[in-house]
């Protein structure tokens, strides 16, 4: 146990000041102190990617950072990459169209990772996309819908025989 410290964060465009122990993880501060529970904790050792958020524009694992390490930073979570008008961003919409999620627990990590990746890499190859997706684990979908969603959002062709919801 150690004395609490003040951490200032700009999260999804809003300024916050929280009083937390220096050892408190960014993921826990987002979830418990700021009530942004869209950032999920799936492994706490940086392997599954469910907790991915953007810190100053870079996708990072919130479970591998203490909040105090990012004092003064701009943080964007899954809530923050979602348009405020009730629609979905292009990758989110492709995830729905291609059935890229089942239980939805890993989904916020994929959404933040790929939203960030596609912003930085507008013309990826098919292999590039799979490598970009390799930092996030999903146990439900077998990645079929997620890979097809990434292809759709990147403007790459999707294999013909996948049933999808694009007509409905």
């Amino acid at each position: 146990m150690s004395d609490e410290v003040v951490v200032k964060l700009n999260v999804n465009g809003r300024d916050h000041k929280v009083l937390v122990e220096p050892r408190k993880l960014l993921s826990d501060v987002l979830r418990e102190d700021l009530h942004l529970t869209g950032t999920h904790v799936g492994c706490e050792h940086g392997a599954c990617g469910a907790c991915t958020v953007m810190v100053d524009g870079a996708a990072v694992r919130a479970c591998l950072l203490f909040a105090v390490q990012v004092d003064g930073s701009k943080v964007v979570t899954v809530e923050g990459v979602t348009p405020t008008d009730g629609t979905l961003n292009p990758f989110q919409q492709a995830m729905q169209d291609c059935h890229g999620l089942q239980c939805g627990f890993c989904t916020p990590g994929f959404v933040v990772s790929m939203t960030s990746y596609l912003d930085d890499h507008p013309n990826p190859t098919d292999d590039d996309l799979k490598i970009a997706l390799s930092g996030n684990l999903c146990r439900c979908t077998g990645y079929r819908g997620i890979i097809n969603a990434a292809r759709t959002a990147a403007g790459l062709p999707v294999p013909a025989n996948a049933a999808d919801g694009s007509d409905h």
């Binding site: 999620l101 997706l133 684990l137």
Partner: protein, 782 residues
């Protein structure tokens, strides 16, 4: 009776999921997202040895830590347990039932039985303090040699559960069969193999989690949990604590996967329930971390299967003997063994004149066995690999030997030698469709060309028939409670426990289709014991069949009442009415029409406008009970691989599934279930291995050691559909588990095909790079 079934307005359509916007935007509500005023947090002290006697537990330093509120050991919680058994499995023999449970206590008693065994439960103001306190608890254990591996468990005079007389959990001896022995003695060929698969674990991306609050003044036990079945957990918690069942309330909101692991309440969760009941003051939350999940949550597979087949010169099957050995760990969920089921469905898609199955499950000092997607699937793992081994022994193509034995349409209805009755299955049709999708001749040419260059390509086939919607005990039926409210919108409450199956979309599809309304006007309510009916929850590939059937029946009843009211209001005959998009109209006279929003208020507020004698209101209940104990679906998997001779790494080139799950509610969801199952199956062959050392230490307790597949490792999964209707009204067949059942032997057969010319004949999973390189080197030296 292969036929093309036309889709309805909703059923059969790839409707986009209604739950997705919430989950995609970070607004799902999983158990760890629930924060309650005054809530405290739980951490466990777990055993770091696999077997030993607890000499002492010193909690004084932990109790003195500021922020620690309570510490409980087995001595505090275990004696308070009323009963610990599961509704689905029934009570243990000493309480009049038949299920041989392991001796279950929430926390370890006088001894520990696996690494991860919960010994002490700590309640503190936050999880950080709870874990600090866990580090301060001193547990002295007199360590004993662990019992690891089924052979050790059988040979040793030591017992996993002290005081018991055997380490055998359940045993089904091979039936006596002198006529079968004679048949084998006279058979042209008899082949024996031993197949094994390594231990795997379910790995839901959301680990286990539970919040429990016992309000001693009200008398209610309120639970929020990551569970597949709130009814099961309500009843289990009532039996554990003695709180009457109607005062136990269980809520499961969004649940992050389960694959069988979250069906039964396990000891850790029971300990939280017991601790909350004793503590009383405030809600307590336990969220499992991944290390705990990989170390202490129930696991699957780890089976050895001995098979002996008798065949003719042409490869026609004459009979089989099969014996299943299962390592069920220390505290399996339910009774652990699935050998009875595996034996019953062993004949699968083939015309076996006789199969004699037997099995033995043994306790070991490891984590208990869970149901894991297709819990009985070792039968397909063994049978489908054995078909290839026999084919190669006889010099017959593996496809051809299947064609000579597979059940055809003109064999139906077909009763297997184990008395299973198939009425509507298409193993032959799916085999041919999958092979056509591959283009076998083109692949064989490519394989030969590649081999000339020293490259190793292979193809594998596996066929299975899935016993979906298993109907026994509480699994036999489901209920839908439906009401239309005053504005014409529909709420249907069910026992289902969605944890990825898309039921929030597929159940409204079925209701909207059969009631005749828009899907936006239907809401599924589930995962809440106060609003949902008692039932088994979601698992066993049954929700589409049984819950879907109940939803359809309720919709038809509701439609009947709506039509009667509308006909009375329009002064027409109910027989002349039609319902579309939430409007009841007189056929051919569209002007004479009433929307649900004008009919519903009449039912609730204007009794004088109702047909004489009709009860007010718009509430119906309906049940569905499948006609048979199983609703059979089926599929054929075909894949091709290339193995790197230098590294032993397997790359999957193509993966093809042809399946028949009857009428599809939503083909997009069906294909999603197939892909997810296939990739779990691939993981179980190539990557995943929950391994223990000889002292019972788990060696894969992080995601850097326990490797589940990632995106670059999976091929594009190609799916073909053949649709034959299940018997009964809906035509739906369950299919949630099949992908994970057929993928392992399909992939193993492809690897076998790629390496057999080198003298490599694999029989054991995993088949990762090191295993394949070892086998290739051994074959070279031999």
């Amino acid at each position: 009776m292969a036929s093309t079934i036309s889709a309805g307005r909703y059923v059969g359509q790839a409707v986009k999921r209604l739950e997705d916007p919430r989950l995609l935007s970070g607004h799902g509500r999983y158990v760890d997202d629930v924060q309650l005023p005054g809530m405290l947090h739980v951490a466990f002290v777990r055993s770091n040895v696999a077997r030993g006697t607890i000499v002492s537990i010193d909690t004084s330093a932990a109790l003195a830590l500021p922020g620690v509120r309570a510490i409980y050991t087995g001595a505090d919680l275990n004696p308070r347990v009323g009963m610990f058994w599961h509704t689905m499995m029934g009570p243990p023999p000493e309480l009049g039932g038949q299920t041989p449970y392991a001796p279950l206590t929430p926390l370890a008693g006088g001894d520990v039985r696996f690494v991860g065994d919960p010994i002490v439960l700590i309640i503190a103001e936050n999880r950080y303090i709870a874990e600090d306190a866990a580090d301060l608890v001193e547990v002295e254990i007199d360590v004993q040699q662990a019992i690891v591996g089924w052979e050790t468990a059988i040979d040793t005079d030591q017992r996993v559960h002290p005081g018991t007389t055997t380490n055998v959990g359940q045993e089904f001896p091979l039936p006596e069969g002198p006529e079968v022995d004679a048949l084998f003695a006279g058979a042209p060929h008899v082949f024996t193999r031993r197949f094994s698969q390594c231990r795997a674990t379910n790995v839901p991306m959301e680990p286990r989690g539970i919040i429990v609050h016992y309000d001693q003044y009200v008398g209610d036990l309120q639970i929020w949990a990551a569970t597949q079945s709130v009814s099961e957990w309500k009843a289990t918690s009532s039996r554990l604590t003695g709180v009457p069942e109607h005062r136990v309330k269980v809520v499961a909101n969004d649940v992050g996967g389960g694959f069988g692991q979250k069906m039964m309440m396990t000891r850790d969760e029971a300990a939280v329930v017991m601790a909350a009941h004793l503590f009383g003051e405030a809600p307590i939350k336990w969220t499992e971390d991944r290390r705990e999940s990989l170390m202490a949550a129930n696991q699957g597979r780890e089976e050895i299967i001995d098979v002996t087949f008798a065949v003719t010169d042409e490869g026609v099957l004459l009979g089989a003997k099969v014996f299943f050995w299962e390592d069920i760990g220390a505290y399996p969920a339910s009774a652990g063994s699935t050998a009875g089921m595996a034996g019953a469905v062993f004949p699968g898609p083939y015309k076996f004149p006789v199969v004699l199955p037997g099995g033995s499950s043994v306790y070991t000092n490891t984590v208990g066995k869970a149901a894991y997607r297709g819990p009985w699937m070792m039968e397909t793992v063994a049978r489908e690999q054995m078909m290839d081994h026999i084919a190669y022994e006889l010099g017959i193509d593996p496809i051809e030997i299947r064609r000579r034995n597979v059940i055809h349409a003109d064999d139906l209805p077909y009763t297997t030698c184990t008395t299973m009755v198939y009425d509507s299955v298409t193993p032959s049709e799916t085999l041919e469709q999958a092979l056509e999708m591959l283009d076998v001749a083109a692949f064989r040419t490519m394989q030969a060309d590649a081999r000339a260059e020293g490259r190793l390509l292979g193809m594998g086939v596996a066929i299975y028939i899935e016993p979906s919607a298993v109907a026994f005990g509480i699994l036999s039926s489901d209920q839908a409670i439906m009401r239309m409210d005053n504005s014409g919108k529909v709420i249907v409450a069910m026992s289902t426990g969605n944890h990825g199956q898309s039921l929030e979309t597929t159940i409204p599809q079925i209701v909207a289709e059969h009631l005749g309304c828009n899907i936006e006007d239907v809401l599924l309510v589930q995962g809440n014991t106060e609003s949902s009916p008692t039932g088994p929850g979601t698992g066993g590939s049954r929700s589409a069949v049984v819950a879907g059937g109940a939803a359809m029946n309720a919709a038809l009843k509701m439609k009947d009442k709506i039509v009667q009211i509308a006909a009375h209001m329009l002064e027409a005959s109910p027989d002349d009415m039609e319902v579309n998009a939430g409007v009841v109209s007189v056929k051919g006279t569209p002007a004479k029409a009433l929307p649900f929003a004008m009919i519903a208020p009449v039912a609730y507020q204007m009794p004088e406008m109702l047909p004489p004698g009709m009860e007010m209101g718009l509430e119906v209940t309906a049940r569905f009970q499948p006609a048979g104990q199983y609703t059979w679906s089926n599929a054929t998997h075909v894949c091709t691989v290339e193995i790197d001779p230098e590294t032993g790494m397997t790359k999957i080139l193509r993966y093809i599934v042809s399946e028949d799950c009857g009428r599809m509610v939503n083909p997009m969801v069906v294909e999603g279930q197939i892909a997810g199952g296939v990739v779990q199956g691939i993981g179980g062959v190539l990557f995943e291995n929950m391994i223990y050392d000889e002292d019972g230490n788990p060696l894969a307790t992080t995601f850097l050691d326990y490797l589940i597949p990632t995106a670059p490792e999976v091929p594009d999964i190609e799916v073909g559909h053949i649709v034959t209707l299940a018997p009964g009204q809906t035509g739906f067949k369950g299919m949630g588990e099949g992908g994970a059942i057929a993928a392992p032997p399909c992939l193993a057969n492809a690897i076998h095909d790629a390496l057999r010319h080198l003298g490599v004949h694999p029989t054991a999973f995993p088949l990762g790079p090191s295993q394949l390189l070892t086998m290739m080197n051994e074959a070279k030296q031999a």
